[in-house]
Symmetry: C2
């Protein structure tokens, strides 16, 4: 049996509350007794029982992380280990533990969240997805339970805390890069339209094109299921157009890989025949052939900041949405179409 606060107290010849004060590092205690008690805790190998503590203070020092539906191939996106890493790093630093939910479908996820919340298992929740008409968000909102979204809520007016990039701006810059390179026929391949990421990145794309007075045919804008067939269908459709694009803005590195592969299969070469710019900068973008020009959205920081925000929220500090800065990584998946320059 693990030693309890009482045994420590007895041996140290102090009261349990004194020991408790040592644990919580209370200032109302003499350095001398503190030392004494600490030594005995060490000797005994004492560790506080969190269940008891949690029960007493009605809190848990742990946070729940809700992954997207795990039935989805999208979960295999390296994005997730990386946010988790970010979340974990600040959680650890601030002495919080991590609960994860990997619910299969939205109903299962909801069940898990209810378990976490009702069971007093967590003090707050981080949502790693954002869905239209999401029962979980609604539930958390109603319960007034602290949570933050990595990404962007559908309706910001609901005053939900979130941590996101400025995807519109990022997409504008990225598209502009292609335009600067002399491309005019530029297509867009995004994920499901209901996702805010896709919406924002599409908006940035359109804005940029409009700024440069380049019109974009509707067939140039494609939303495809994340990872599905590696965007194969999207590419086939695009490339079989009468006037196929020479440049592609793709909203996810993994999809980009699929796109490149499809292009190769169809006999086109990147960047010779078509230039690709992408988003996320996961490790694979770096080791791809050619290495992808992509927006580094700083996934790690997205997770880290979300955790900070959540913990602030738990401590009922007021919390603003946070925008993580991005940075385009220029690599070799694009080619200049203008005559005097060649970036490849």
């Amino acid at each position: 049996m693990a030693p309890t606060i009482k045994e420590v107290a007895k041996i140290a010849q102090v009261s349990p509350s004194t020991v408790s004060r040592v644990i919580s590092n209370s200032p109302r205690i003499s350095p001398k007794t503190k030392m004494k008690v600490k030594k005995i805790m060490d000797d005994l190998g004492y560790h506080p029982n969190v269940n008891a503590r949690n029960l007493a203070v009605n809190s848990t020092y742990s946070i729940g992380v809700v992954m997207p539906s795990s039935t989805d191939k999208a979960l295999q996106n390296p994005f997730f280990p990386e946010v988790l890493r970010g979340i974990g790093s600040v959680a650890r630093e601030l002495d919080y533990s991590l609960y994860v939910s990997t619910g299969g479908n939205p109903e299962e996820q909801f069940e898990e969240v209810k378990r976490m919340v009702f069971g007093n298992r967590v003090d707050g929740v981080i949502l790693l997805y954002s869905r239209v008409n999401d029962a979980i968000t609604k539930f958390l909102l109603e319960k007034n339970f602290p949570f933050v979204i990595v990404g962007k809520p559908l309706h910001t007016f609901e005053d939900i805390t979130y941590v996101d990039n400025d995807n519109i701006k990022a997409s504008k810059e990225l598209t502009q890069h292609l335009i600067d390179l002399g491309h005019k026929n530029i297509g867009f391949i995004g994920g499901p339209a209901e996702q805010m990421v896709t919406a924002d990145r599409l908006k940035g794309f359109e804005l940029s094109m409009k700024n440069s007075k380049i019109s974009v045919p509707d067939e140039y804008k494609i939303q495809t299921e994340f990872l599905e067939y590696g965007g194969r269908k999207a590419v086939e459709r695009l490339i079989s157009l009468e006037d196929p694009p020479t440049g592609l803005v793709v909203t996810d590195d993994i999809v980009s890989l699929g796109v490149m592969n499809t292009l190769n299969d169809l006999g086109f070469s990147v960047p010779k025949d078509v230039s690709i710019v992408s988003f996320n900068n996961v490790y694979l973008a770096e080791i791809a052939t050619p290495p992808l020009t992509t927006v580094d959205i700083n996934i790690f920081k997205l997770g880290a900041k979300a955790t900070n925000s959540l913990i602030n929220k738990i401590n009922s500090k007021s919390v603003e949405p946070i925008i993580i800065p991005h940075k385009i990584k220029y690599r070799n998946s694009t080619k200049s179409l203008s005559l005097r320059r060649n970036d490849n």
Copy 2:
């Protein structure tokens, strides 16, 4: 404030212990009162407080998952979301919660595990890595704390429960495939030598070659850091040999992608110039160009079974190591060297 067992009891006009019995579905209770109490719990939206329950029974219905060092790029391997998914699926089914540790370095990880164990946060631990001389394994063993390893412990004689594939056999079959295709110059690219996966897969490779009486020069066997440079260095070294391999056995799909890319860069084509066979069958292997012939190790099941084993162990049932069957997925990353056949 959430309703407690007492309030339910009061309204139902029974004692708290009766309510408790209803919660735990005790047989020593009349169907009538059970119904009555249940209804009131529903009406009140009652949910048991797990901290209180855990404290009372000195257990937690949750399990800890220890990821590999997160400083490592290897964490971006889609392997991890996928095992997590497997673990989560049975955890959910059996009503367990998941705690994850994403410790940066081994020391941090150790701290987190101690927190989990000493703090009574979890009933058992799943290790997603296996290292030589690992402090955590040792600690868990000493404490006699339930844990299982996904992968294989270094010393099986220590009677550690683990869930793994038969990597030797898988590697033998995979290598044999290359041999059947007429390859003789076959190289091996593996991860760090200290990992059992690498060791086993190397062993299988060597066995297979030996069976076919093909000798393998030492320079053909390369261990490289997981994901580092996408195995670039390994490939460059290999390909610059006087008699470079025409076939490659690579122990990880992601590394294979890097290898293929490097080969492309160097002007070699897969499978025309060199055939590649690989391990894991992550989603990316499917959408690669060419799609990889790879061993499907059933990552999901690896996680699921590990969780089952752990929970059995927690309930002090005896537990045997488990071997998950594998299956080679034949795709297009290999080419036949014999004259009468051409599988590409």
